[in-house]
Symmetry: C2
Subunit: 215 residues, 2 copies
């Protein structure tokens, strides 16, 4: 099909506008999900929070479940941008675990909306799970960590971080709390005290700001 | 007020019957809550599961929330009978922690309804929390465990056990899984490997069967 450069431009700006509106709805949705019981929500709650019309909402989503799914994927992408980008530079699986757990806690501390959403919804990131179990396998195979099954180790990491996020959503924690959570988890995984001290003494890389604050 | 021995008897049998009916509703409620999303439930679901009339239901509870609250308390009492009764014989806080965590996992493995209910509902037992944090304080003060705050230690224990219960609700786990969860949690709390091995070599006391299976 023939299309003039001008038509191409129109399509692009249309797509950009559409992406901006969707980001605006999702940003509002995260706020709504973070502060209220997801099961008690109706579409009106999102329309009001995003300041859009009912018609606009239905151009993007058909149900609360759909908004929830999209918000989960969107936050997972946000997490991957924030954390996985930093981990990509690391090849040692123990380094990746130590840094990943510390960054996760730092993200929870610095981005309370994200923290409340993930803690409250029980949202699970497939990619994050794969990355975590891969590094647990690698660390055990390298003899750096000791546990009988990756399932037990994974449950220790995910369960403790989630409980910590529930606490951080409910109350103000001590300044050292996020790093101490990481330290106890690493000890539970069998990393010895000297290794923990040495690896956690390294400064954490700065994370990119979440993309959704820009939109 | 005056009352004949016979009136006293009638009152007692009336109370017993009432307690039996309430236990029957609660036992059915636990099954219902364990298998379905609590937010999607209506009173009809409990009436059907317990095989009672609507009128009988309203003699005991007025709403789904009330059944849920009562079922939580009832399961907590059940847990306290099962676990706290065993812990009462132990005075060393580390022994109490080791035994309590192991019994909790054993209970989750042997009583899947209880496991699914607690994992799915996020029910929190006030008395269990008090017992746990008391023993964490005691173990740290005695120099047997090392962590900077009881909050971090408590989140490691509760978070990992809850995640383990979620897994046990969803899939069949390896036979050694419950004990390995306990071992990793104790290591995370700073108990050294030899102490863990020695304390976990002791056989677990047999727990009383849950009272609700009798009713």
């Amino acid at each position: 099909m023939h299309s003039s450069p001008n038509q191409g431009h129109r399509t692009r700006t249309g797509q950009e506008r559409r992406a901006r509106t969707q980001a605006r709805i999702l940003a509002a949705a995260v706020r709504v999900f973070a502060t209220r019981d997801p099961h008690a929500l109706v579409i009106e709650d999102f329309i009001r929070a995003a300041g859009i019309s009912r018609g606009t909402f239905y151009n993007y989503f058909r149900s609360v479940d759909e908004v929830f799914e999209a918000a989960s994927r969107w936050l997972e992408d946000d997490l991957i941008v924030s954390i996985e980008a930093e981990l990509a530079a690391l090849s040692d699986p123990v380094d990746r675990l130590v840094t990943g757990i510390r960054l996760w806690m730092k993200k929870a501390e610095s981005d309370r909306e994200w923290c409340a959403f993930v803690a409250g919804s029980g949202a699970r990131g497939e990619k994050v799970e794969q990355s975590l179990t891969g590094d647990l396998h690698g660390s055990r195979d390298a003899g750096a960590l000791e546990f009988p099954s990756v399932a037990v180790a994974r449950d220790l990491v995910v369960g403790t971080l989630r409980e910590a996020m529930v606490r951080m959503t409910r109350e103000r924690v001590e300044p050292g709390y996020p790093e101490e959570v990481a330290r106890l988890v690493l000890r539970g995984l069998g990393l010895d005290a000297r290794e923990i001290a040495a690896r956690m003494a390294r400064p954490l890389p700065a994370m990119r700001r979440p993309s959704r604050t820009v939109s």
